[in-house]
């Protein structure tokens, strides 16, 4: 535990020394919310079931934070540590090298939560956004979605030969996903073709779960989301287990 705490503290330190990580993880989604909210306001819209645009965007934008940390910064951190043979160096110490991966997971996860929290704060203060759900349900929805997404990130780290490849693959997943899953623009407003595309993308169910948490839907309404996210988790972790290399 002493080692894990020290490793995690160190990863936090490194996170805050990386300007781009701080910007993308902590501030990017809030800036996006300011832009979208500025353009569209938060007036209730019939197409959005009577909710305002900002109300709908907040939980959706959480998916952006989860995707940035899950499939970009987390896998890049892991593959960078492997590329620099840092993982290998720690293998020659009494601790389990899994602790390094775990510390990188913790830092990305905690910082993504901070980014999501900032998003809510900005929404509340600037646009007087409404939260209709239960805080703990919301947190649970966030954790489930994030863990499922991070397993795909671990898979990206596993199949990438180096950190450059991880960056490319991560962005290749992240960029289309934020548009196709309704994370940037609500699915309700998309034409039927796009709605059907969204349906086959697993992360859409993460956006749906986050929305459910935000608008206070009953847990029972999200059985499909849970099942899809569980399958994603099993596939992501499974492929990682077989393909991950420490050096």
């Amino acid at each position: 535990m002493k080692a894990l705490a020290a490793l995690t503290k160190n990863e936090f330190r490194l996170f805050f020394r990386s300007t781009s990580s701080v910007f993308y993880v902590l501030f990017f989604s809030s800036i996006l919310l300011l832009i979208f909210g500025g353009m569209l306001g938060n007036k209730p819209m019939a197409q959005l079931g009577g909710y305002g645009m900002v109300d709908v965007e907040i939980p959706s934008f959480m998916m952006i934070v989860i995707l940035i940390t899950g499939v970009v910064t987390f896998p890049v951190d892991v593959s960078m540590a492997r590329e620099k043979k840092i993982l290998k160096r720690f293998m020659a110490t009494p601790i389990s090298p899994f602790q390094i991966l775990f510390s990188q997971f913790i830092v990305n996860f905690v910082m993504s939560m901070a980014g999501a929290f900032l998003l809510v704060v900005v929404g509340k203060i600037v646009f007087n956004a409404n939260f209709y759900g239960n805080t703990w349900t919301m947190v649970m929805a966030y954790i489930v979605t994030a863990i499922s997404t991070y397993s795909i990130g671990l898979m990206v780290a596993s199949i990438s030969p180096n950190s450059k490849a991880a960056t490319v693959i991560g962005n290749f997943i992240y960029l289309p996903m934020i548009f196709l899953t309704g994370a940037v623009y609500p699915i309700q407003l998309m034409p039927p073709v796009m709605k059907n595309i969204a349906k086959v993308i697993p992360f859409t169910y993460g956006v749906d779960l986050l929305n459910g948490g935000w608008f206070g839907s009953k847990i029972g309404d999200f059985t499909v989301d849970f099942i899809v996210l569980a399958i994603v988790f099993i596939v992501g972790t499974g492929i990682s287990l077989f393909t991950f290399k420490w050096e």
Partner: protein, 303 residues
Amino acid sequence: MVIKVENLVKRYKNITAVNNVSFSVEEGEIFGLLGPNGAGKTTTIECIEGLRKPDSGNVEVLGLNPLKDRKRLYNMIGVQLQETSYQDKIKVWEICQLFSTLYSKTLSYELLLKDFGLYEKKDSYISKLSGGQKQAVSIVLALIPDPKIVFLDEITTGLDPQARRNVWEMIKKLKKKGKTVFMTTHYMEEAENLCDRICFIKSGKIRALGTVSELIKASNLQLKVVFKANDLNVDELNKIENVESVKKDGERYIVYGKNEEIVKDVMNYLTGKKIEFREFSIVKPNLEDVYLNIVKEPLEVEK
């Protein structure tokens, strides 16, 4: 005996990187694994460190199996890996402090940093250090658990000559502290300077093993006397006692001898005949000659 390697074999796909290697290392010595790039040095050292699983053979370090007793072993050995870099934005003291939390008992890293001339650099980012200073950090990190054995894999590769000599001094310091040092290198001069015993490997096989003088003796290489002179009878030189052969290269003469007596004999001949000579020198066979003799292939020469 602190390290025992018996019939070690390690294959990668269809290449046998280490082919039936056996040797042992005694407590307190500097043991050097020497060979050209791709000889199997790193694979051997990493099998001993427990970072690679041998295909067959036995490895014992401080009486432990490195794969089965890794936790106990890593509290007793210090490791520097070839080409490890650290995160760019981590400071010297931070990485030292981090490593200090990984072991059950540790030495003060502040004292170690002082000892290796890095204390003034403790607040610098690792990425801002010179190559030699980075390697010094690697040594300090290896020493944090106060290990009995220190493993150094090509620690001076890529360093400039001055930095290399600084690292040599650090390695000598390790020996003075009573540590056993197991190192790999492809620099002859380095092995000759530092190692108590040297193991030559090439293509995964041991070609020679012993102290520097043992290796030179065993290789049957001859002493050379070299000088320049204008007019000289090669046949007469050949007839001098103890002379094996003579080579003439312009006005330069190289006389190979069976033993050190030839120095006196050649000198007596030259002065006796009143032959004028210049640039007289005696060349003893060194490790490089031994190496070339064994491996028949030049090593990387220090730039």
